[in-house]
Symmetry: C2
Subunit: 493 residues, 2 copies
């Protein structure tokens, strides 16, 4: 049996501690010296790299190009769009000086008061302002549109309460910024990118999501419409996993970006922006992992298969290694990422537990008896089921197993969500359900006041108005006022 | 003939203006609203992306993993390593506050004086300090070594005189940081990464480089040895294109990073760091480009081949397009990145000049006569030579041509460097040669005083002491004092 050398807190005992334990013990990330910032460790970063690679490919398939815009934003830019500044000024890092100098005794460095900037600079919390200030010079005619740029970068929002991956002052993300000649085209682009995110979440992260539109209260600061994908975590809470904004002409107005249309008329440009961040790492962890550690969908796992030899003597070890060599080759021929861990300073039990903690989807183990009988033990991380099989045809078998794991993780998460999604028409029932954790579809009268009141009373917010659901007249769950359709309520991260 | 719609300043007239013209007119980058920072445009970024991809693969082949460390560094960290702080404190962006607030009349935002940080934070100019502060917790035993991490990120050095790609306040780079149990292993890693950089420069950028070690004056702040690759630009100046540092135990001492060795003894860790940046874009441009615009080696070109149809009527255009379709397929089957530009709102001459400006290595053009005769016009960007060939077998032909272009660019740059490299033993000759532009191999007495004096008199610096050259006793070019070997002098970027 695998000895639990790095035991973690069970979910049932303390869900939040369970999450932190996994992040730390699976070597994904840790807190940095600077308050609220994180270090993403190599294993965690390898997962993020894989996410980036797949998303980047999807963006490019829709015609988007990458570019890079500056980290620092002049303070005055933020004020150009009235809603935008309200949303972001309260939590930003401000650069005021550009030089340090040694103290007189040379024992330390201090800020050089003579190196004060005329205008303070903000570390980007998001780049709409600096990008639209640039687009102004790139867009003159309808021939310059659509303009479809994305950047992968770091951003900073000075958060007071932080949690690794879920809410950190600095985080990594991508932000796409597009410019269009017509409202329809911009609206369609905003929805298209939501589909790209939803596909990625469901097919690669194996995480089912609800696609919807935010209420005005929950919109991005400066947007006309904010589209969102919302996923359910294992505690029944919602995690907003990606957003795509239709910005109308707000930023075009603020930065005076116009174009000469085919009809010769000078018109304001239409805009979208859309982003996902390292927050997806938090969503991935909380969707699939268990009390033994991280569970990863094969599509995002840095290692698909780990092979562990079980031996007593050097002779046995050599025998096993000889047998393993063609197995590794066969697996790699099937495009499977394999690690053979024959390190001599750790026991098999330690290794079993370590790779379970790290969520490696498949574990193969071989001992002397397997060598004799031509068999190998296969364990799948998602169900922890073990099976002893002939090593003949192992490549194809593992390939199929990885597909099954990917599929099973999605189905399991979908079943969990279905079980924890409720339709409520009674206030007491509503309160009970949202408190216990889950998605509640309920009627809302459409006012910000009611939305706010429900939040105060239950902590639940409207996660979104799901897309594509039929209209269904009813009565607001709290006020009893008329409602046109149900919306999705939940407590959230 | 191609009409030069975006004519650029010839090199002979104003080299520096020529460089700026190419950066702007080939759509590579432009100045940002914030002083000294740049926007990397999609076409320029596509080249950088390709550089990243190739370098990243090379790093990983040597066992390096990527990670991410925070953008902000507590001010006190910088002071921990005495040389390091001297090198970087003078030019850094300082974050002093974490919030803005609206003015009373709500017309603008100002820094909220109540949100002053207890300790100022520096935007990383390089990350040795924050990384070694982290490594302290990752390294306990010899089993934790070597530790080989790299990060791709943005850094900031507040430069007073900036030039796009060559010297900007914010730039993109990678910084590798490794930790080792022994001095030998760290030294070998520093040299190994220099070899990786040199290989990349020569094989992918088609840019010959001199490998060498810096004099103490030119070392990285905090290093024991700084290895460098130096390339010659077309004005004969040197451009430092990548550096790899053996840091000894300086950062281990500053951050108290020790490990229990196999013998049970507690020892200080040995370190290296190494980096290349978007400065390579400047090197690439200045190594190969000509008075028609950018010239790109195929290994880094976002588009290998552009196909341009020449037609008068819609019917001709349709005929050509039909013929081009299988050609595109054939080229793509040879892994060649093709663009077919049949845009109707631009004339062929404009297109010719545009893709020359952008450095696309091969241009194919087809007119009605080519359709009749089964031929196609091939132009190679490096020599501007044109040839009309049958379109049968175009895939293989273009593939070979791309290889020839890659090879020719390297050889041409190497020949140029050879022609402009001199061995000098006479002071007047030395002054003349460095002023005219070129690499000068001359004797140096090994003192910082002489190095400084030569710089004052001629602007030339010691770029490096080349590796692998035989000892050759002689006399210092200025002082006549004894010297053990020649060193490389040049004016530099």
């Amino acid at each position: 049996m695998a000895k639990k050398i790095k035991a973690i807190t069970p979910r049932s005992e303390n869900y939040s501690q369970w999450y932190n334990d996994i992040v730390l013990k699976a070597d994904l990330a840790e807190n940095a010296a600077v308050r609220g910032c994180m270090v993403i460790k190599p294993y965690g970063f390898a997962i993020w790299e894989r996410m980036k690679e797949l998303l980047d490919k999807s963006f490019k398939e829709t015609g988007v190009s990458n570019a890079y815009f500056p980290l620092l934003i002049p303070k005055s830019f933020l004020s150009r769009e009235a809603e935008h500044v309200k949303g972001f000024a309260k939590e930003c890092a401000v650069v005021t000086h550009y030089r340090l100098k040694a103290t007189e005794d040379e024992s330390a460095v201090v800020v050089d008061p003579e190196a004060k900037l005329d205008e303070e600079l903000i570390i980007r919390p998001t780049s709409e302002t600096v990008i639209w200030n640039t687009y102004k010079n790139w867009i003159h005619s309808w021939r310059d549109l659509p303009l479809l740029c994305n950047q992968w970068c770091n951003v900073m929002r000075w958060e007071m309460r932080t949690r690794l991956f879920l809410r950190t002052s600095e985080f990594l993300w991508q932000e796409g910024h597009t410019a269009h000649a017509t409202e329809e085209e911009a609206q369609e682009r905003a929805r298209q990118m939501l589909r790209v995110y939803a596909d990625f979440a469901e097919k690669k992260m194996a995480m089912p999501v609800i696609r919807g539109v935010k209420t005005p209260t929950e919109r991005f600061a400066g947007a006309i419409d904010t589209y969102t994908i919302e996923a359910m975590m294992q505690d029944g809470k919602a995690l907003q996993s990606g957003t795509s904004h239709f910005l109308g002409q707000n930023f075009a107005k603020a930065f005076n970006v116009t174009f000469a249309d085919k009809d010769g008329e000078e018109k304001l440009v239409w805009a979208t922006s859309w982003g996902v961040s390292t927050r997806l790492m938090g969503a991935l962890i909380m969707t699939h992992s268990d009390d033994n550690g991280l569970v990863l969908p094969p599509a995002l796992a840095p290692i698909d298969v780990v092979i562990i030899p079980i031996y007593k003597s050097d002779e046995e070890r050599a025998q096993i290694s000889e047998l393993v060599e063609p197995l590794i080759k066969e697996l790699r021929d099937h495009d499977i990422k394999v690690k053979y861990d024959d390190a001599d300073n750790k026991k098999p039990g330690w290794k079993f537990s370590e790779y379970e903690m790290k969520g490696v989807p498949v574990r193969l183990a071989l001992g002397p008896r397997d060598v004799e009988e031509g068999t190998i033990e296969v364990m799948r991380r998602d169900t922890l089921e073990k099976e002893t099989v002939p090593y003949e045809g192992i490549g194809k078998r593992v390939e199929e197993l990885l597909d099954q794991i990917q599929e099973n993780l999605y189905q399991r998460a979908l079943d969990f969500r279905t079980e924890h999604t409720y339709s409520c028409d009674d206030w007491d029932d509503f309160c009970e359900k949202v408190e216990a954790g889950g998605f509640v579809m309920a009627h809302w009268d459409g006012t910000a006041e009611t939305e706010e009141r429900i939040k105060e009373l239950t902590k639940a917010t409207i996660r979104c108005i799901p897309l594509g659901q039929p209209d269904e007249p009813g009565k607001d769950i709290l006020t009893g006022k008329p409602s046109e359709r149900r919306v999705l309520f939940a407590c959230s991260y």
